[in-house]
């Protein structure tokens, strides 16, 4: 009897999570509905117009979807040359040493820094450099945002990959050594193939992080509503356009912003879902 009551209490409290999730989806869908209805789902997703002239409002999400995908992919590209060495340093080359512990503490701390401070740092330190190098006149650009985003996702990508690299059985590596392989060859031919699916899934989760990152991108991307024509042009990501315009929006524009939120929610949920699934599979292997 008391056990039953205990179970029910736990269950009721746990229903919080499904309720919140359900509520998020419900609210986003109902409030985005106006925009979808007005422009049509496909048209909304593929239109590049974003103008709030009264009487001729046009809202299309493509510039922001593009902005998000571009910043995320670029961030991933910039992140790999650093996160991969870090995960090998921690999980293979200096595995179990003080040096490795120090490096992972440092990298972990990177994950603790709030995104608004990354934004500040990017704005006051990186942006002037981008300007000085004549890469982009205002300094704010998709590239600028991606560079800082890359630093932000290094800890997510590297710490999980390092775990998978650590799990590669020692005798497997020794077998390769006993056949005359060098350390680099063991990494390439044994460690990477064996830990590969785990490493891959770590990067998927890192992408999931980058997709929804808001403040850093908002402060560095330049906040323009047009379609970005190159990586050094200004733009907006889905998250940054919401952060920028949500406060002043109402009516159709508010609905359009919520619709963008819904798209962002769906994309991140898919990416994170796939990442978690792959991680589970990789752990079982």
């Amino acid at each position: 009897m008391r056990d039953k009551l205990f179970h029910i209490i736990l269950l009721v409290v746990s229903m919080f999570v499904p309720l919140v999730c359900g509520g998020i989806i419900y609210s986003l869908v109902t409030d985005a509905y106006m925009a979808f209805e007005h422009f049509g789902l496909v048209n909304f997703l593929t239109s590049t117009d974003w103008s709030y002239t009264p009487g001729n409002e046009q809202y299309g999400a493509l510039p922001f979807i593009t902005g998000t995908l571009l910043t995320t992919l670029l961030a991933l590209l910039f992140c790999i040359p650093f996160s991969m060495p870090v995960s090998l340093f921690v999980g293979e080359y200096f595995k179990g040493t003080k040096l490795a512990a120090t490096l992972s503490t440092v990298v972990d701390l990177l994950a603790g820094i709030p995104s608004i401070i990354y934004g500040i740092w990017g704005f006051f330190t990186l942006r002037p450099i981008i300007m000085a190098l004549n890469i982009s006149p205002q300094g704010s650009s998709i590239l600028t945002a991606s560079l800082v985003l890359a630093i932000m996702i290094v800890p997510y990508a590297s710490s999980l990959s390092a775990e998978f690299i650590k799990m590669v059985p020692n005798d497997l590596k020794e077998s390769a050594y006993s056949l005359g392989a060098t350390h680099a060859e063991v990494v390439r031919k044994v460690v990477f193939p064996v830990a590969g699916s785990g490493i891959f899934s770590s990067y998927i989760l890192a992408i999931g992080r980058a997709l929804g990152e808001t403040m850093t991108v908002t402060m560095l991307i330049g906040n323009t509503n047009h379609m970005p024509h190159s990586i050094v042009s200004t733009g907006n990501s889905m998250a940054s356009v919401i952060a920028n315009q949500f406060g002043e929006a109402d009516g159709l524009r508010l609905s359009a912003l919520i619709a963008i939120g819904l798209v962002l929610f769906v994309i991140t949920a898919l990416v994170n879902g796939v990442g978690k699934l792959l991680i589970k599979r990789a752990r079982i292997d």
Binding site: R2, F6, H7, L10, V13, S14, F16, V17, P18, V20, C21, G23, I24, L28, F82, P85, V86, F89, Y93, L103, V106, D108, L109, L110, G112, I113, P114, S115, I116, I117, Y118, I120, W121, F123, V154, S158, T182, H183, A184, E185, G208, G212, E213, T214, M215, M219, A239, A243, F246, G247, L257, I258, G261, L264, F265, T268, A269, N272, G273, K276
Partner: protein
């Protein structure tokens, strides 16, 4: 030595060097950020910085004209952060612990699997979306931005983190602990509250600290919920400020840009201290169990 082997050994050395150099480079941004924020922020630390509220543009202009230092501080943000954190913790900690206990207790059931999946979903949801939703749930019906709305947003962000850390910690406790309790005739509730949860205290505490350090620096979910306010407020039904919100305001206000660094240093100090502290505790706790 044959040529092919020489080349392979060279490649091997080069790989090792590259790994070391690139790994070391990865640590540079941390020190660059900490260094810059500390160097520029420490000058602003003064008694008034922590006790006075955000100055109005008028006051700032006056001060600049007179050549005196910019008056005011971030006290309103500190108070707002404390109020909202407190309110969100009051709900998120017990709910998170009970939710984690549910997942650990009913591991194999469909219900637990669904909740577990949704916890992941919630944890991965971008914070700006939490902001939108809480705006729709709280700000729209009450017709005002408020500390309550901000707390709800922070609470939703903390919840999955606490659920996960509680679940993980309970999972690694030896099964014998629970079984020996049940064998003595104790009810499952007694075993959970008197034996399992106390044994898991270290892990849960770490999880809570980490969750707090994660949300304390969140800006996006507060933008459309707490909004910000330059007055000192202790009420929960009106717009309120928070330290990260202040940084955002300073960033957007050319007159107040100086203040960015002091506020950032203050925030960074708290976030990183909580972060390091929780990891230290986690290490100690793991050794003991």
């Amino acid at each position: 030595m044959e040529k092919g082997l020489k080349k392979r050994l060279f490649t091997n050395k080069l790989t090792t060097c590259l790994i070391v150099v690139l790994s070391a480079l990865t640590a540079v941004p941390l020190f660059a950020i900490l260094g810059q924020v500390f160097y520029k922020g420490i000058d602003q630390f003064s008694w008034s910085f922590f006790t006075e509220t955000t100055p109005s543009v008028y006051r700032v202009m006056k001060a600049v004209e007179a050549g005196s230092p910019i008056p005011g501080g971030i006290a309103n943000g500190i108070v707002g952060t404390v109020i909202m954190l407190f309110m969100s913790m009051v709900v998120a900690i017990p709910a998170g612990i009970l939710g984690g206990a549910f997942l650990a207790e009913n591991r194999k059931t469909t219900m637990a699997k669904v909740i577990s999946y949704l916890t992941d979903l919630l944890q991965g949801t971008p914070s700006v979306i939490i902001g939108i939703v809480v705006y729709l749930w709280v700000v729209v019906p009450t017709k005002t931005y408020s500390a309550v709305a901000g707390s709800v947003a922070l609470c939703i962000m903390m919840l999955p983190l606490i659920i996960r850390s509680t679940e993980e910690t309970l999972k690694i406790l030896p099964a014998s602990l629970k079984e020996s309790g049940l064998a003595l005739g104790a009810s499952r509730a007694t075993v959970m509250f008197k034996i399992q949860l106390p044994a898991a205290f270290g892990g849960i505490f770490t999880g809570v600290l980490l969750a707090v350090s994660r949300v304390i620096g969140e800006t996006a979910p507060l933008l459309f919920t707490a909004l910000g306010c330059s007055l000192m407020r202790y009420t929960i039904d009106q717009p309120i400020s928070a330290v990260p919100l202040l940084i955002w305001e300073f960033f957007n206000d050319p007159f107040l840009q100086e203040f960015i660094w002091g506020a950032s240093l203050f925030l960074l100090f708290f976030v990183l201290t909580l972060n390091v502290l929780s990891k230290q505790i986690a290490k100690k706790w793991k050794v003991q169990s």
